[in-house]
Amino acid sequence: MRAVDPMRVVVAEDAAVFREGLARLLEDRGHRVCAAVADGEALLAAVAAHRPDVAVVDIRMPPTHTDEGLRAALRLRADHPGTGVLVFSQYVETRYAARLLQGTAAGVGYLLKDRVADVAEFLDALRRVAAGGTALDPEVVGQLLGAGRHAKGLAGLTAREREVLALMAEGRSNAGIAELLVISGGVVEKHVASIFAKLGLPPAEGDNRRVLAVLRYLEA
């Protein structure tokens, strides 16, 4: 299978079985895996050498098996702004998401490893991140939406608007939201405008800024 628009990818994952599976999946879909490494140092070296479109980074890697992947991802973002970083983990913490999205949401993703099971969805998220967009796991968004801080503000939204809000927070474009909810782009735009008005958010241009605006609102 050939991809419409092949990406150059570096994979950092310490579990060999998953690393190889992921590399095979990407190659199978026509993307190029420049390097598949097992720790943060090797990741930084590989990215410096290959300048990929996107790096897929596991959070827990040797030597400490805590958050070196996250730290490596933050360094990548500082050193190679042109490379998207998709942080990949077996659990998601809103705290980590906040650290990752500090300042900008451009070219950043944070997903559960489970998401790779839905191949098309996963590749879509990876492509978004590679193109400078955002991909935030529904679980993170769900946790933020479920946290009762903004229960009052969110209560003013219709069920549909809440759905749209969640998808916005995940980093999806209006077109993506329209496709997922099977509605027209115009309707999505109307929902978005309504949400921003109801939550009292300043209008934000671009999907990334929109993500940040929503997250700031949810985390405040």
């Binding site: 579990a15 999946l25 098996h65």
Partner: protein, 458 residues
């Protein structure tokens, strides 16, 4: 042991060499030091008795007994305050001697606990009265009195025996008096105090030599017997006491058990993360690929059936991943690895009630403590969300002076009661495993404040 001759030779060697060993020397030194230390108390007692006598003699002069009463009172107070204090200090000297010379290290008893409410003299008296190890040290000093006499006897055995050995050598030098002159006989020490041997002639000096030899050979064994008795007393009366030792031991092993349990849970979570979870994620990924591949095929019923089966397997794998993740998080939340403040922030971010979080943890607590604090906060937040109808929750974690204080408060309806089984009793139990304390203030109508105090180290 078969050969009687070998046995006899071995015995002989032991007996003959005993006086020259390091052990004999050390035990003798212990006795030498013990005599003044042991008799020192006798001096004090005699002095006190003299004091009492003087008081008793003086009191009729004042034609009243109140002077005697006051003097006795002062004496009693002084005794209560000073005796355990002095006992502890002398005890420390004895313990050091025991460790250095007898090779019997005895752990020091715990320091006296200051009596809580009283200050000044009443406080000192209360502390003195309650100082069990101090009084045991006094008891040692009392028992040491007769023991010191026996130790003195052992020293005499050594010194007298050695002196007796010299008689034949100097006799000729001092006793070559002209015939007809009669000199007083020279006394020689015997093992029987007060019964000296009278040596009048040169041949008799060999009797002294014989007695001396016997004494020197016997002295190490006499010393050893006395010292053995002293050593037992040392262990029983100057140690921390069997109960205190047991408590110390139990505290230590409990801390090990708590740490071990925390470490094991961490390991289980890590094994799940690196093992089953990653395999399952890979499996789900492959099923996802298979699903897409099958979707691209057109075929008959068989392909349709296969598609259904793979769909089901794919769904199940994803669900299992979710369940496994929840399980792992319940065993050991991975975010705890980056610190309690991060973990609490994660909890706060996902709480159903808005949380105001303040963390001040200059020093990182032990992993087991972090785990307990985390689960306390999680449970208390969940309780607040479920029962309190609160609009705000505050979570505060402060680590200072060796303890971690976690406070979770809300402005809800109150009425939290551990007796009514809201998980609070379980929490209190968990907190107690590390000598922590949990205080609940939750009057009907609110507000609720639960304060958990934990040591920073197990």
């Amino acid at each position: 042991m078969g050969d009687p001759l070998t046995t006899a030779v071995a015995w002989g060697r032991t007996v003959l060499l005993a006086p020259f060993g390091r052990r004999a020397r050390n035990e003798l030194l212990f006795c030498l030091a013990g005599v003044p230390l042991g008799l020192g108390l006798a001096v004090v007692v005699v002095w006190l008795m003299a004091f009492a006598t003087v008081v008793a003699l003086l009191s009729p002069r004042f034609e009243s007994t109140w002077v005697a009463g006051v003097a006795l009172g002062v004496g009693a107070v002084l005794t209560v305050v000073l005796a355990p204090w002095a006992g502890r200090r002398l005890g420390a000297v004895h313990r050091r001697l025991g460790a250095g010379l007898l090779g019997t290290p005895v752990a020091a008893p715990p320091s006296p606990e200051p009596a809580g409410r009283w200050r000044g003299l009443p406080g000192w008296v209360a502390t003195g009265l309650g100082d069990g190890p101090g009084w045991r040290a006094v008891a040692y000093q009392v028992v040491k009195l007769p023991l010191a006499l026996l130790e003195a006897y052992a020293v005499i055995c050594w010194a007298g025996g050695l002196a007796n050995l010299t008689y034949p050598f100097w006799w000729g030098l001092f006793r070559n008096h002209p015939p007809g002159v009669t000199l007083d006989p020279v006394p020689a020490v015997t093992p029987f105090p007060g019964r000296p041997l009278q040596i009048a002639t040169y041949p008799e000096t060999f009797l002294a030599l014989g007695v001396g030899l016997a004494m020197v050979l016997a002295a190490p064994w006499v010393t050893r017997a006395v010292v053995a008795a002293d050593r037992r007393l040392l262990v029983i009366l100057l140690g921390p006491g069997r109960l205190a030792l047991r408590v110390r031991d139990l505290e230590h092993t409990r801390a090990l058990a708590v740490d071990d349990a925390a470490a094991q849970l961490r390991r289980v979570e890590r094994d799940l993360h690196d093992g089953a979870q990653i395999r399952l994620a890979t499996l789900a990924m492959h099923l996802g690929l298979a699903r897409e591949t099958l979707a691209g095929l057109d075929g008959g019923d068989d392909v349709g059936r296969a598609r259904e089966l793979v769909d089901a397997a794919h769904r199940d794998a994803k669900q299992a991943l979710g369940e496994l993740r929840d399980l792992a998080r319940g065993i050991h939340p991975p975010v705890l690895d980056s610190g309690l403040d991060d973990a609490l922030a994660s909890l706060a971010a996902t709480s159903a009630i808005p949380v105001e979080l303040a963390c001040d943890l200059p020093e990182r607590p032990a992993p087991a403590i972090e785990t307990i604090a985390y689960f306390c906060a999680a449970e208390l937040l969940a309780n607040a969300a479920k029962h309190s109808h609160a609009g705000r929750v505050t979570v505060q974690a402060d680590g200072r002076d060796g303890s971690l204080v976690l406070e979770v408060g809300d402005d809800g309806v109150g009425g939290a009661d551990p007796a009514r089984g809201s998980g609070l009793a379980g929490l209190a139990q968990r907190v107690r495993t590390v000598d922590g304390r949990m205080r609940i203030a939750s009057p009907r109508g609110g507000p609720t404040l639960v304060s958990v105090q934990l040591p920073l180290r197990t």
